[in-house]
């Protein structure tokens, strides 16, 4: 049982770390604001969410897990809201997205 829990928790932690890395790479490599925002939104939801889930599995049934659950709840709301607000602000500021002009053949 412990073994299963450990494997599950570490795969969650590693998965979260990979998503965080992907998000960071996306922010650095993507061409314009909107696509970067798309990349960074992965960090707040899947990245942080998986890390928190992994930590909850480590914590077991304890007060720590309750606190982590609360953090999870807050992250699930604040992250997407922040990204949404940023995108809206960019839209209102009339920021143009970089569009590939070439039609696919």
């Amino acid at each position: 049982m412990d073994m299963v829990l450990a494997v599950l928790s570490w795969s969650c932690l590693l998965g979260g770390a990979i998503f965080l890395l992907i998000g960071a790479l996306g922010v650095l490599r993507f061409p314009d604001f909107y696509t970067r925002l798309h990349a960074v939104s992965v960090c707040d939801t899947l990245g942080a969410g998986l890390v928190l889930a992994g930590l909850m599995l480590q914590g077991g049934f304890s007060l720590v897990t309750v606190k982590l659950l609360l953090m999870f709840y807050f992250m699930m709301f604040t992250g997407p809201t922040a990204v949404h607000a940023l995108a809206q602000a960019a839209m209102q500021g009339k920021l143009q997205a970089v569009v590939d002009e070439h039609e696919p053949e």
Partner: protein, 320 residues
Amino acid sequence: MENLINDVLLGLLMITGFAIVRMKSLLGVTMLTSIYSLLSASLFVVLDAVDVALTEAAIGAGIATVLMVATVALTTDEEKVPRHTPLLPLLVVMATGAALIYGTLDMPHHGDPLAPAHRYVADSYLHDSPVEIGVPNVVTSVLASYRGYDTLGEVTVIFTAAAGVLALLGYRTRGRNIEAAGIRKQVVLRVIAKLFFPLILLFALYVQFHGDYGPGGGFQAGVIFATGFILYALAFGLGTAQRLIPSQLLRILAAAGVLIYAAVGLESMLLGGKFLEYRVLADDPIAGQHLGILLIELGVGITVASVMLIIYYGFVSRRH
């Protein structure tokens, strides 16, 4: 492991510092200072100074950022290009930096048990606090009881800051309902703000009254309260927030908090003790300490929350 985390955080702090110096857009600088505050708050958590970290996260990363954004909106986003050569300032900064680094050579090492801060009174605080005061969080017992005079002074300083901001910026008792164009349309932001507003206030109450047992207390709870109301004002406009909590009420509350604190001191004098000697407030000295700490923390919380909101109202009502 802990040292590694410290090093990474300090490294990030340094990078952020350089980025702040290099950046020309003042709005960008504001965001970077917010990140700087959040990094220092994490550093305080690693150093086990959770009480300080709570305040730093709420003020540095929260309220100060909102105030700076309001200032940038009032003035300009462009950094002024200096006309004179930067040689003299560079020399002054380098000399000051060198003097500061020279000063650190005399400082005790990180975690040195023989450091002056850990000798003298700290030992007796840690040793006597459970017997004399009976509050599990020693930080609270030092701040509120052993160093009650200092804390009264600090609260008075915060109150004076609000008076200074009011004197400089003036205030409008009946603020027009100033709202950024288009915020009414932001349904998602408003719903989330409405959802989080009561939760933030609830958390502030927890921090306020749990300060005897865990990290927290009046200062932390006050700033968290203020961030809740600032979030509300950001989402629903200053006028709506002022209907919820009018500026006149805030000015009365800011003074009331300091007065509650001082009144607890006077009450203990009337009951035959010294100023701020909480032992005499109840029959049992420990219960008296508990009561005194609860009351003065309440006073601190009321003053800090209302002062933060007064400053926020003062900055934001200047627009237009």
